[in-house]
Amino acid sequence: MSTISNNTHDSYEKNLSQDPRERAPLVTGGKDFSAVTSTVADLARGWPNIWWWAAFLFSSSLLAMLGGLLGYLFTTGTGIWGNNQPVAWGFPIVNFVFWVGIGHAGTLISAILFLFRQNWRTGINRFAEAMTIFAVMCAAIFPGVHVGRPWLAYWLFPIPNQMDMWPQFRSPLLWDVFAVGTYATVSTLFWLTGMVPDFATLRDRAKNVIAKFAYSVVSIGWTGSSRHWHRFEKAYLILAALATPLVLSVHSVVSFDFAVAQLPGWHTTIFPPYFVAGAIYGGFAMVITLAVPCRKLFGLEDIITWRHIENMSKVMLGTGMIVAYAYGVEFFIAWYGQVPEEQFAFLNRMRGPYWWAFALMIFCNCIGPQILWFRKARMNVWCVMFAAMCVNVGMWFERFVIIVTSLVRDFLPSSWDLFKPTWVDITMFIGSFGLFFTMFLLFLKFLPTCAMAEIKSVMPEAHAHSGPGGEAMDSEGRSDYQPD
C-alpha cells in the first residue's frame, strides 16, 4: 500500500475544525489521489476480510429464510399472517413504509446536499445511494406479496391486458406504484451513472481476467475525457435537480395512502411533510448504522471521517425535532378539530392496547437521540450508534402505531378487533434485513464503495490555484471555499 495511515489525534481535530478561516480537510491521514484510489479499489480487488465473511454468512442465511417464507406464503396464502378485519394491512405495509423511508437518506445525501454544494457528501454518497436501492428492493417485496396473488402484480402497470382494463388511477395505491417505481428507477440511474468513472478506475486496476472484463463492460469505455466530464457533470446536476423534488414526492405519495382515507388518525394534512421528515430521520440513522462499523472494519476511516458522522448526527437531530413536532401537532389538531372519533383515536394510541408501542416510539424517536445535542456524545461511537439504533427501532414502531392503532378501533365499536402478528410476520420482517445486508455486502465487495472521482475533486490538490492556508482559489483569485 502506498500510504501510511497517520491518523493521529491531530488530524481528527483538524478535520473537525469549526474555524471558518481554515478549510478543514475532508480526507484525513494525509492521503493523496492515488492513496484514495487504492483505499477504495483494494476493497473491491482483494479477498474480503473475516468480518465480511461472517456478516455475509449471517445475512445470506436470513435471506434464505426469507426465500423459504415467501415460498410458504405463495403455496399457503396470506392467512399465515396476522392480518385480519379490520387490520387488513398490518405488517406488510408497516414494513413497506419503513423500508421506503430508509431509502430516503441516500437520495437526500446525493441530490439535495449536492445542490447545496455540501462537499462532505462525497465520502458517503455512494454508500447511501446503494442503501437506497437495496431498501427500495426490500420495500417492493411487501406490497408485492400483500396483493395475495403476486404473480398478477403486473396488473398494477398500465399495460394492455386480457381484461381490456386500465389500472385505477384515482387510487393512492396506484400513485405509489408510479412514485416508488420512478424513485427506484431514478435512484438506480443516479447510482449507476455516478459509478461509471469509478468502474473505469477499477477496470484499470483489476488483476484477474473476469474482473477486468466485467469492469470494462460496466465502465462502457470511460476515459476521463474533459469533454465527457463536462456533459457528465451537467447530467449529474440535472439528475440531482430531478431527484430532489422526487425524494420529497415519493414519501408524500406514500403518506397519501393514509391521508386520503377517512379513518381517524390517518386523515391528516400534516402527513406528507411529516412522513418525509421521518423518512430522512430513519434513513440517516441507517446510514450511520452502516457507516460506523464499515469504516472501522474495512479501513475507510480516512474517507468516512468523524466529520461525516457528526454532520449526519446533526441532520438526525434536526429531522428528529421535526418528527417530534409533528407528533405534537397531530394531538393538537385532534383536540382542536373537536371530532370525537379523532380524539378517541389519539387517546387510544396513547392509552389503548398498543400503549407500549406508542411509548417505545416516543422514547426511541423523541428522547433517546437527544443525547446528540452534546458534542461529547456525537464524538463517541457508542452514543452515536445508540441514537441511530433508537431511531431505527422508533421509526418502525412509528409506522406500526399509525397503521395498527388507527385500524383496530375506528368509528364503529362493533368492527373493533385487535391485531396480533404471527411468527411468519416477524420472521419475514427479519428476513428482509437478510436481503438488505446481503445486497449491501455484495456492494461492499464488488463495487466502488466510495465515490473516488468525487472525493478527489474536493481535495485541495484538485484545484489549480492554492491560496493561503491551502484554500483553493479559481483563476481570478476568488476563493472557492464554501463552509459546510
Binding site: P160, F169, R170, A179, T201, I220, G224, R227, V253, A464
Partner: protein
C-alpha cells in the same frame, strides 16, 4: 485500419497513428497547458483526468452542452404522456386503442366521490412520468452525446494511461487535427509542461 503508416524515423510501430498524449503531474500545470493548447487553435484534442476539474471547460474552450434542452424536451413529453394516460383512460367513454388489435376500456367508475376527470388526482402520476422521462433523457442523452458505450479505445493500450483514472492528467492531440505535426506537437507538449510523451497507435 488499412491506412498506410507514415514511416516515423525513431520508433517504427505497426498500425495507424491516432495521436499523441502528454502526461502532466498536477492540475496547476495542466490548467496553464490547456489554455495554451486552446490559444494555439487546436480543435481535436482533449484533457483526461481522474475527476472533473473545476474551470477546465473555460481553459479548454468547451461550449456548453445541449443536454439540458434534450432533458426539457423529454420532460415535456413525459408530462403529456402522464396527462394522456390518466385523462384519456379515466374520463373518456370511448375505447382507447393502444395496440393494433387491442382495445382497452376506460375505468369509468365513481370511486371516493372523485369526478371522472379529477385532475388533482392525476398530479402524482403526471409528475412521476415527467421526472422519469427527464431522468432517462439526462443519463442516456449524456452517454450518447459522449459516444459511449465504446469499449474499444486505442488509449487503453498505453500502460501509462492507466493512471488517468488514478492520479495523473493527460493532454491528447488527435493526428487528424489540422495543426498536428508529430515532432512539433511533441515539442509543444514538452514546452507546456508534459513530464512524459507517448504516441498512441491503433
Amino acid at each position: 485500419m488499412s491506412e498506410v503508416t507514415e514511416k516515423s524515423d525513431h520508433q517504427p510501430k505497426p498500425g495507424r497513428i491516432v495521436g499523441i498524449i502528454g502526461e502532466f503531474d498536477n492540475v496547476e500545470v495542466l490548467m496553464t497547458a490547456a489554455k495554451k493548447m486552446r490559444d494555439k487553435g487546436f480543435k481535436r484534442w482533449d484533457v483526461y483526468s481522474p475527476f472533473p476539474i473545476h474551470g477546465i471547460d473555460d481553459a479548454m474552450g468547451i461550449k456548453p452542452t445541449i443536454l439540458p434542452w434534450i432533458v426539457l424536451g423529454a420532460g415535456v413529453t413525459g408530462f403529456f404522456v402522464g396527462l394522456l394516460l390518466t385523462v384519456v383512460t379515466m374520463s373518456t367513454d370511448t375505447y382507447t386503442p393502444m395496440m393494433p388489435g387491442t382495445e382497452i376500456v376506460g375505468y369509468k367508475f365513481m370511486i371516493s366521490g372523485k369526478p371522472f376527470n379529477s385532475l388533482p388526482a392525476w398530479i402524482p402520476v403526471i409528475f412521476e412520468m415527467t421526472i422519469l422521462l427527464s431522468a432517462f433523457a439526462a443519463v442516456f442523452g449524456m452517454f450518447l452525446l459522449n459516444r459511449l458505450p465504446m469499449l474499444y479505445n486505442p488509449l487503453f493500450k498505453i500502460d501509462r494511461f492507466v493512471r488517468a483514472t488514478d492520479d495523473r492528467f493527460f493532454i491528447g492531440v488527435d493526428s487528424k487535427d489540422s495543426l498536428y505535426k508529430r515532432a512539433e506537437t511533441e515539442k509543444l507538449l514538452k514546452d507546456i509542461g508534459a513530464s512524459a510523451i507517448e504516441e498512441v497507435v491503433d
